[in-house]
């Protein structure tokens, strides 16, 4: 017994995704959070390990831009993502840039 209605697998991958998002609306939001967290945490942790210093604002911008690129692809087909989510992703990208440009560099007074 499945926990939700199984998608029709004969309509193509995009139709499967749309049916999944229709059934579980938070699916794409979870995917975008995963992309952001993956780039942000793995990038900053690796830099910290290699150089002893993690440039959080820079990795925040990198993670935001990565998330924005994935979001843009999802906007092409209707039903995968809504306008509010796209607006929030763009807003987070701008906020990350604000953080980067107004942050102090390493060793900067």
């Amino acid at each position: 017994m499945s926990i939700y209605t199984q998608p029709n697998l004969t309509g193509g991958m995009d139709e499967v995704l749309i049916e999944v998002v229709t059934t579980v609306p938070s699916f794409m939001i979870g995917l975008l959070v995963f992309v952001f967290g993956f780039v942000f945490i793995s990038g900053s942790a690796t830099q910290k390990k290699q150089s002893g210093y993690a440039d959080m604002p820079m990795w925040s911008v990198m993670a935001s831009l990565s998330t924005l690129m994935v979001t843009l692809i999802l906007t092409i087909k209707g039903g995968l993502i809504n306008l509010e989510t796209l607006g929030i992703v763009v807003a987070l990208t701008i906020f990350s840039a604000l953080w980067l440009f107004l942050s102090r560099g390493r060793g900067e007074q």
């Binding site: 092409i76 763009v90 107004l102």
Partner: protein, 143 residues
């Protein structure tokens, strides 16, 4: 963080915002996307607003340089009598930053009027910081 980095940071943020918004809108148009950022009234309005502010900043900078070039100092003067050359587009900067922060906060936290106090606090401290930076550049204090 000095005044030059602060003003440059705000200007770069403005240009980054313009670039991202225009890129996303253009991406939607060229690919006939189902979800278009141009349908969002906040983002479609921010583009014209910021372009106008950057042009105002350009005029402010030119006026400021003209003021600097025409400033004279007599022997023994501690500073110029006018601080015009240090006020490069400060109020344009406030306007650009306020427009960006308003849209970002509205999108992330919603337009609930009860949450507006956070936006008011942030824009207020931005105005206060820019005022102090102008004073610091002109008179050398406070830190």
């Amino acid at each position: 963080m000095g005044e030059i980095k602060f003003v440059t940071g705000l200007l770069l943020t403005t240009l980054f915002t313009l670039a991202i918004v225009m890129f996303v809108i253009q991406f939607g148009d060229e690919n006939d996307s189902a979800v278009l950022l141009s349908n969002d009234s906040d983002y479609s309005g921010i583009q014209d607003s910021l372009v106008g502010d950057v042009q105002d900043f350009n005029e402010d900078a030119e006026d400021s340089v003209d003021t600097l070039m025409s400033t004279t100092q007599e022997a023994g003067d501690q500073s110029a009598s006018s601080g015009g050359q240090f006020k490069v587009g400060a109020f344009t900067m406030i306007r650009m930053a306020t427009v960006i922060i308003t849209v970002v906060f509205t999108k992330i936290f919603g337009d609930d009027i009860g949450f507006g106090i956070f936006l008011t606090a942030i824009t207020s401290i931005l105005v206060w910081m820019i005022g102090l930076y102008i004073w610091k550049a002109w008179k050398g204090s406070p830190d």
